[in-house]
């Protein structure tokens, strides 16, 4: 009998979140896909969910899910799990996904693998694939117990649509005893120009080697010429030079551009785990021994503060204009 996979799907505005499309693509390879989507806009997502292979959609449209973080959603998902006993529960590794999964795990006693990059069905058991120690090692984790939960890292799977019949839609009410918990009072969006970091074909990233926050302007200029986005290492984000939204790495974003240009970044595992999927890596760093030189296609041992302005002039002299 086909395995029953429950996928927790998130919306980004009126669209399905990109990571949810990736998780759906993976779920389809493992069994029959049932989706739970808890958002006031859930109904609008149904057609798209069908296009990604969902057979059943459990839709909860109560405004509570958006107003309160994780707790009501975890209660609603727990009720579905107790009723339908899925063989596997998949989440995208997002802020909300992680919180809801953690609560669900505690509520029902389900095991969790966070940061998985793949899930396989081996015989009758699921195995999660996870990379550890900055993706230097890969571990296979056999999952046991009822309804194990897996959080899939963004960009681990390439999203592909499927052609399927429209899914069966089941409305799910807010469980009457669902706790509310932490309330979202306000959402602040920091405006950003240029392509999105996760979608850009070229990413120009900076680290401590830039020496001063004001030098990120050089990277903005360079990224502008290359139609790229600016990223950063955790060190400079923690130091408050640039906002967290720029952070590439384990705790930040995973990027897979055609070209990744690392300027003054040593290449700590924490960082490389978020960018080693780039097609081509160019690195500029003063320290010949920096680990970034072990994974780059073209490395320059030099001062980023000299090389980047020279590169900007060189590009301009070749007629490149952003």
């Amino acid at each position: 009998m086909a395995k029953k996979i429950l996928v927790y799907v998130e919306l980004a505005g009126s669209e399905l979140a990109p990571v949810s499309l990736e998780v759906l693509t993976k779920a389809r390879q493992l069994g029959t896909v049932e989706v739970v989507v808890l958002d006031p806009g859930a109904s609008d997502a149904v057609a798209m969910l069908g296009a990604y292979g969902a057979a059943t959609v459990y839709a909860g449209e109560d405004a509570t899910y958006r107003a309160f973080v994780a707790q009501p959603a975890a209660a609603a998902v727990a009720a579905l799990v107790e009723e339908h006993h899925p063989d596997l529960i998949l989440f995208g590794a997002t802020y909300d996904g992680r919180d809801i999964c953690a609560r669900l795990s505690a509520r029902l006693g389900l095991t969790v693998v966070a940061n998985a990059i793949d899930v396989e069905l081996r015989g009758q058991e699921f195995t999660a694939v996870s990379s550890i120690f900055g993706a230097t090692q890969t571990v296979l984790i056999e999952l046991g117990g009822p309804s194990p939960c897996v959080l899939l890292r963004p960009k681990s799977v390439t999203a592909e649509s499927a052609s399927g019949p429209p899914p069966r839609v089941v409305k799910v009410p807010l469980p009457p005893d669902a706790p509310r918990g932490a309330r979202r009072v306000e959402s602040v969006v920091v405006p950003a120009s240029g392509p999105k970091l996760e979608e850009a074909k070229v990413v120009v990233s900076g680290g401590r080697g830039l020496q001063d926050p004001s030098n990120f302007e050089l990277l903005e200029q360079l990224a502008g010429l290359l139609h790229g986005a600016v990223g950063a290492s955790r060190a400079v984000v923690d130091a408050g030079w640039v906002p967290y939204a720029r952070q590439v790495g384990q705790t930040g974003k995973t990027v897979t551009p055609d070209v990744y240009l690392a300027c003054g970044i040593s290449g700590a595992m924490q960082h490389t785990v978020g960018m080693k999927g780039a097609k081509h890596i160019i690195a500029i760093n003063k320290d010949r021994e920096a680990p970034i030189f072990k994974i780059c296609d073209l490395g320059v041992v030099g001062d980023a503060l000299k090389v980047v302005p020279a590169l900007i002039s060189e590009l301009e002299s070749r007629g490149v204009a952003g």
Partner: protein
């Protein structure tokens, strides 16, 4: 106000971690262990809330016996008490078991606020704090890049992909903090001396009401079946910059048809 903060001892993150080839557990014997750098933000956040509310900080850790070193480090920063749950039977516990043990310890401490970092630097599972909140029936305010406690309310700026949400809840609650939320203080000499005489509670699993047969590898709903080196990128050409490097990069970008 009583603030509890979770800390973890981890292998020095500047070294390369290793799993024991036979047990597939973290090889904890190699190299130095340090306070997880992420936790220093948690301890600092707890100390700041304590200072603002004339409160005190209790530091809680589960780990091997030498985790006492990182509890003492947090005490040297200013925490007044410590709780260490250490038991050979806990080795190999999964995130859920860890949450159950830490939730039981938190119940014993009875804080108004429990602070943790968003994820450990070694395992980076990141589910333990919210699982603890669920077990305690508390709200959780996660990914805080700003934290403020006033009266019986806690309010944070919660990191989002494009900015932040302002999130608030009533105490008691769990808060997880991101790196960069504050500037962790360094322990002073006076603090280090004082830390040696601060009280440390070491409750047994039985005292915490945890069934010892349900923890460790036996209680884990998952099992590592293999560990393999991940395919690594091969390094390419590395050149010294003698004024020509910008041109070399531009040529490479042209070759890749980026320009």
């Amino acid at each position: 106000m009583k603030i509890a903060v979770l800390v973890k001892q981890i292998p020095d993150p500047s070294g390369v971690g290793k799993l024991d080839p036979h047990t597939h557990l973290l090889a904890r014997d190699q190299g130095e262990v340090v306070l997880d750098p992420g936790d220093s933000y948690g301890v600092e956040a707890a100390l700041q809330v304590a200072a603002a509310t004339q409160g005190e900080v209790v530091v809680i850790s589960m780990g091997p016996a030498k985790a006492v070193e990182v509890i003492r480090k947090a005490m040297a920063m200013g925490a007044s008490e410590g709780v260490l749950i250490t038991d050979e039977r806990l080795r190999g516990s999964d995130a859920l078991t860890t949450a159950r043990v830490l939730a039981a310890a938190t119940k014993k401490v009875q804080p108004d606020l429990l602070i943790a970092c968003t994820e450990s630097t070694d395992g980076y599972t990141g589910t333990v704090p919210s699982s603890i909140a669920e077990l305690l029936g508390w709200p959780s305010l996660t990914f805080a890049k700003q934290l403020e406690v006033s009266g019986d309310k806690v309010r944070i700026h919660r990191q989002t992909p494009n900015g932040h949400d302002v999130v608030e809840a009533e105490l008691p609650a769990v808060v997880t903090v991101t790196g960069g939320i504050n500037e962790p203080r360094y322990p002073t000499l006076k603090g280090i001396v004082a830390s040696r005489s601060r009280p440390l509670d070491q409750p047994t699993l039985e005292e915490l009401g945890i069934d010892p047969s349900a923890v460790g590898q036996a209680g884990a709903g998952q099992r590592i079946v293999s560990v393999e080196p991940a395919p690594q990128r091969a390094g390419g050409e590395v050149v010294e910059d003698q004024g020509q490097a910008a041109k070399r990069i531009a040529d490479y970008l042209a070759e890749l048809k980026v320009i």
